[in-house]
């Protein structure tokens, strides 16, 4: 795993000075980052000033939805009661490694950010959620760090490390909170998404681990400092996992707005690429002509894409985009929570159409059927899982249009037989309605 820094890269979270230090040691963390300013959650003026700093910073959630952090905090504060801070490090996206890097290389910064959020909300408990199926012992490292902070009298809040069942949708915030309520960890249908999720009676602030690490830096250095990187509309830096056909796959930190091809080059992408999958398996394929696009919400939105969980999968020109997309669609169909018909039946149907196209067995109507199905499925699930697959599929039809024409006429291509560059895991669990 690479966490290299190079000229195009930023170094707020992944500081080069991390080298030679023990990132899990509180003393090394404090030597590198300095002390966190005193958290005065019972001082209304301090709380108001810090909330203003978060709003001024323009920090947005780094877990995929990109919701402004200040608005999320305000919503939980309005909900009343004693809130709970949930650190989401579930890393359901198979190509993403950033949560793992956050919980090892910068875990004290994540815990600092959780403490800041707790102080702003009057929360007394923090639950750090990470996948239970991690063989590398991240949970133990984290528990030791939490204990060290408690001994040093620096936590102020109770921090619980919760190893939760993994899978693609396990980090979807309503599914995560359902699991913390000792119910099956499945996404729930919310007629009104503005109503906060609750663990027991406590309104739950669910923030991605990266968002909280940035919050810890805003508490130290202020909003103006935060905005000195990135663009006016998308300030700050972000972690990007670059995967696929690159020489140095791994997690890189960049300023928001850094062009996609520059990020890919830092990871050693080849000159000749078929496309880049932006955002993860629920993301958008962009063809070579779009790779100069800034990695930033606004610019990507013009192409129907989002930053997602900060993943770029590079596909070499020798690979087949249709075949790789079919593989992802089949995996995503198997990761449905199995609750909603359009997802349970629609996603396998999309995968099947793509598979027929990939191997050159498509009939004369397969293309139209695929387009028609894709256009009907989005927006009809309790969560956005089906929407993400539709986005993936529709973007593949555009990005690989030339290739697709050959496939639709019943020809596989050379890339169909090439080995996959994807890291698709086995499906985590069968769904409720699945056979």
């Amino acid at each position: 795993m690479s966490t290299l820094t190079a000229p195009a890269l930023a170094s707020r979270l992944l500081s080069p000075e991390l080298d030679g230090r023990d990132p899990t040691s509180l003393a090394d963390h404090l030597a590198l980052r300095g002390e966190l300013p005193p958290l005065r959650g019972d001082d209304a003026a301090w709380v108001a000033a810090m909330l203003q700093a978060v709003a001024d910073s323009g920090l947005s959630g780094r877990g995929g939805a990109g919701f402004p952090s200040a608005r999320k905090l305000a919503g939980i504060r309005r909900a009343g009661g004693t809130p709970l801070v949930v650190v989401n490090a579930m890393e359901g996206e198979p190509e993403s490694l950033k949560d793992k890097v956050l919980l090892t290389a910068v875990l004290h910064l994540v815990l600092d950010g959780a403490a800041v959020a707790a102080a702003l909300l009057g929360a007394r408990r923090v639950v750090v959620c990470l996948p239970a199926d991690d063989p590398s012992g991240t949970a133990e490292v984290l528990r030791r760090a939490v204990a060290e902070r408690a001994r040093a009298g620096r936590s102020g809040v109770e921090v619980v490390v919760a190893a939760r069942p993994g899978g693609y949708a396990a980090g979807e915030e309503s599914a995560l909170v359902e699991g913390l309520n000792d119910r099956p960890g499945l996404p729930i249908f919310r007629a009104d998404k503005a109503t906060p999720l609750r663990v027991g009676r406590a309104p739950a602030l669910v923030h991605n681990a990266e968002t909280l690490a940035h919050l810890a830096l805003i508490a130290r250095h202020g909003a103006a400092w935060f905005r000195s990187a990135g663009t006016a509309a998308s300030p700050g830096t972000t972690l990007v996992t670059v995967a696929g056909a690159v020489v140095r796959p791994g997690v890189f930190e960049v300023e928001l707005g850094c062009p996609i091809d520059v990020i890919c080059a830092a990871a050693g992408a080849p000159d000749d690429v078929a496309g880049v999958l932006v955002g993860g398996y629920a993301g958008t394929w962009l063809g070579p002509q779009h790779l100069g696009t800034p990695f930033e919400r606004g610019a990507l939105a013009e192409l129907g894409a989002t930053t997602g969980v900060g993943v770029l999968v590079v596909l070499a020109a020798s690979s087949c985009g249709i075949t790789e997309t079919a593989r992802i669609a089949r995996y995503m169909a198997g990761e449905s929570a199995g609750q909603c018909g359009p997802c349970v039946f629609g996603l396998p149907a999309l995968a099947e159409d793509l598979e027929l196209l990939a191997v050159g067995r498509a009939g004369p109507t397969t293309m139209d059927r695929l387009r028609g199905r894709a256009s009907l499925i989005a927006g009809r699930g309790a969560c956005r899982h089906p929407d993400g697959v539709v986005r993936l599929v529709e973007s593949a039809l555009v990005a690989f249009a030339d290739d697709l024409e050959r496939h639709a006429r019943g020809h596989a291509c050379r890339g169909t037989a090439a080995p996959s560059v994807l890291n698709i895991p086995r499906n985590a669990r069968p769904g409720r309605r699945a056979a």
């Binding site: 249908f189 007629a191 609750q339 909603c340 018909g341 009907l376 699930g381 309790a382």
Partner: protein, 69 residues
């Protein structure tokens, strides 16, 4: 003026399909029998039919929500 919109609770829905029979003006079924709802406002003339479709759903999965015009 207050108006109404139809939504489906997709977790509750089990594809009985009564809604599409009762309100074809707003609801069609996909190839697997699940409703595809036209989310545009339900005009006054259709509200009573919409209420009936809501009441007839065996899974209580069809929702008629008040929405700002």
């Amino acid at each position: 003026m207050s108006t109404h919109r139809l939504r489906v609770d997709p977790v509750a829905c089990d594809a009985y399909g009564f809604c599409a029979e009762l309100l074809p003006e707003r609801i069609t079924l996909d190839e697997w029998g699940y409703p595809v709802v036209d989310g545009t406002p339900v005009d006054r003339g259709l509200v009573e039919l919409a209420r009936r479709a809501v009441a007839e759903c065996p899974r209580r999965a069809l929702l008629l929500e008040a929405a700002e015009a």
